[in-house]
């Protein structure tokens, strides 16, 4: 019998929210025209875009003219980093960032450094928590143009001390960019940032929509060739049907966020406790308390991460991994590396609005046997 599929990788992409689906289908008919043209269908498209921007801005508690839609969360992160640095080039060329930023932020950082800029990386502890003292020292150094901190780790779920980090930045006049991809529509967005990015597919919006928010008064300069779309912040015409669906589902998911967090956090607690108790030689990583409500990560000693993903997939479970064998570069996750925790045999489980208690129970019932089988095949039982 083929097991029914259980999607446990919402941190990559959650299944489409029913509100997103409904809005997307409606907007395919009404939102195909270019919002910048001067005819009736274009005005209709403009109304849809303005309404989507207004809804998204209201949900995030920002002004509509501060929010731009981008072609992806990655593009929003690139724009946040490179635009934040470009706007502050007179203040300096140093980007301060945590060691556990998303790869999109680190790749933008590499671009900045290869172009003559500099970067200062701030470590985390074994639980993935930012070293606040080191952060405060780093942002106080001369020549810092921008600081970047992920709101909560996309790989291990540890929530970062964003407001304390923001206070350290504010004390020295350094703008803070927060990658909020895992917290928007999940938990309250912390205060104190100047630039923020998010990604619609994390909350059940369609793929290919990112959010870039630049607060009034922030020195930000587009790193892209000149283009008038999205207040000059995101070149190219937006994918309007997807944007409409993203904004509608953002509002719906944010309205349910507190209830969903209350429902999912105990399921994550259950996974943390049962995996640690029932799978031998496993390391459950990340902060057990200050963490995201929907995400948990663990590593199984002596198990090949790719083999574990495939074995889980054969049983219908979709999860992701930070193990090197599952990455295109064959390097272990920089997040697990920065924390100093086991990187092989790694599994990230992330829940969403369709995840049921029965899904979690089936995962917990099957995981110990799957890991035991892989260890038996590899001849590592009893090591």
């Amino acid at each position: 019998m083929i097991p029914s599929p259980v999607h446990l990788d919402a941190a990559t992409a959650a299944p489409l929210h029913p509100v997103a689906r409904q809005a997307l289908l409606a907007a395919l008919d009404d939102g195909w025209a270019d919002p910048d043209r001067l005819y009736a269908s274009a005005r209709r498209a403009r109304q849809l875009l303005d309404a989507a921007r207004g809804a998204a801005a209201e949900t995030l508690g920002v002004r509509p003219d501060e929010l731009s839609f981008t072609a992806s969360g990655t593009t929003a992160a690139h724009s946040a980093v490179l635009g934040g640095l470009a706007g502050r080039r007179r203040a300096g060329a140093v980007l301060v960032h945590s060691a556990i930023e998303h790869s999109a932020v680190l790749h933008a950082t590499q671009r900045h450094v290869s172009g003559g800029g500099a970067a200062s990386e701030v470590p985390v502890d074994r639980l993935g928590r930012l070293d606040l003292d080191a952060w405060s020292r780093a942002v106080t150094e001369p020549g810092v143009a921008l600081a970047a901190l992920i709101a909560a780790s996309h790989e291990v779920g540890t929530v970062q001390p964003v407001e304390a980090a923001a206070a350290a930045c504010a004390a020295v006049g350094v703008p803070l960019y927060v990658d909020a991809a895992q917290v928007v529509a999940r938990t309250p967005v912390p205060a104190g940032w100047s630039v923020l990015s998010a990604s619609a597919r994390k909350w059940g919006g369609p793929p290919g929509v990112g959010l870039l928010v630049v607060r009034k008064g922030t020195r930000w300069e587009s790193p892209w060739p000149a283009d008038e779309h999205e207040s000059g912040r995101a070149p190219g015409t937006v994918n309007l049907p997807a944007v409409v669906a993203a904004a509608a589902s953002l509002r719906a998911a944010a309205a349910d966020a507190a209830a969903e967090a209350t429902r999912l956090a105990p399921l994550v607690d259950r996974i943390r406790a049962r995996v640690a108790a029932e799978v031998p030689d496993v390391e459950v990583v990340g902060d057990p308390e200050r963490r995201l409500p929907h995400l948990v990560t663990f590593s199984c000693l002596y198990v090949d991460g790719e083999a574990l993903l495939h074995a889980l997939d054969r049983r219908g479970f979709a999860v992701s991994s930070g193990s090197s064998c599952t990455s295109s570069t064959l390097r272990p996750s920089h997040v697990l590396e920065a924390m100093g925790v086991l990187s092989h045999g790694n599994v990230r489980v992330s829940l969403h609005r369709d995840t049921t208690e029965a899904d979690v129970e089936r995962f917990l019932a099957e995981l110990p046997g799957i890991v035991a089988d892989l260890r038996a095949q590899a001849g590592v039982v009893g090591l």
Binding site: D281, E283, L301, Y302, V303, D304, S323, S324, C325, L330, R331, P332, L336, E337, G340, V341, L342, S343, H344, G345, A378, V380, L383
Partner: protein
Amino acid sequence: MTAPESPAGGEPDEIIDCLGQRCPLPVIALARRLPELPVGAVLRVLADDPAAAVDIPAWCRMRAQEFLGTNGPAHDIRRTQ
């Protein structure tokens, strides 16, 4: 090729060569061999998979063995129990 400089500042009691092996194989080789050595002995694992530099210290922590240090592909571990 010259022998890598010792991360621990001394010569190991034994060297196992896991160059070219992907994790978790170097960690498995370490877990097989170290218990066969006397307490106090130093084992050097040669492993060039980038994950080994993360996973060998993590294994030492999980198994309460002493991780002495890394130099290039050389990772030194002392059996403490």
